[in-house]
């Protein structure tokens, strides 16, 4: 359970969600990304490879972060969604709002 981040050579901040992204921990996640944005980071990749489930507040935090990052001229990409998580984005039509790559490696190629 938790969030780990590392910087890719091209300067993309990759944040891995280990466990759940839900109402109980989304604030910690949000703060982590906002701090990096404040610190000058502009390219973000959230890796869901090790994520169990996301609730609507987790989706909400992704929506609001994406907007904030775009406003600063940056970009937020998502990767590593399994079939279930992808279904959540499709059901809510959020798949139309985000750049979603199959894997973190794929996402980094296009960055």
């Amino acid at each position: 359970m938790g969030f780990t981040s590392r910087k890719d050579p091209k300067g993309v901040l990759i944040v891995e969600v280990d466990g759940q992204l839900i109402v109980g921990n989304r604030q910690e996640f949000k703060q982590k990304i906002l701090d990096a944005l404040d610190g000058g980071d502009r390219k973000f990749l959230v890796d869901f490879t090790r994520t169990g489930y996301i609730d609507s507040s987790g989706l909400g935090v992704l929506v609001s972060l994406s907007k904030k990052i775009r406003d600063e001229g940056g970009e937020l990409r998502l990767a590593g969604l399994n079939e279930d998580l992808r279904t959540l984005f499709e059901l809510t039509k959020l798949d139309t709002l985000f750049a979603i790559s199959d894997s973190a490696a794929d996402a980094l190629k296009v960055s």
């Binding site: 109402v23 109980g24 169990g52 609730d55 609507s56 507040s57 909400g60 059901l91």
Partner: protein, 157 residues
Amino acid sequence: MNAASRKPLSAHVAPLAPATRGLEAQLAMHLPSDVAFIEEAVELVARHLEAHFVDRRTIRFNCRVALSEALANAIQYGNGGDRSKQVTVRVLFGKTAIEMEVSDEGNGFNPASLPDPTAPERLESPDGRGIFLIRRLVDEVRFNDRGNAICMILRRA
């Protein structure tokens, strides 16, 4: 809601081993109104659900998300985060269905009045997807008249 657009949940759910003669069981749990308990409560219910299903995929995902949403609403809106108020979870493991009921001590709300979160003008809103997701992830959703109890039903294949 368009039934055809629903994820065909029941297809993922297989009944237990043939030995099952269909005894019914009910699990009851109370939790304080603190979102920090949601994860454990969801995990616990998921583990108990696994005691009744062979196919764990639906349990792992659909039930966890739906229950997590219902608990978050009960804790935050229903009980207003007042830890002295309780949220009650009841899971009925029936012969043909599983029912998960979440109730709070609040005044309820009118679930019929919620706007569609997939409408273009709401798509970038950070909120308003909870009940919508629940409805898509389980087979049937019922509220009590007051609106402080939600019952989420999963039919067994």
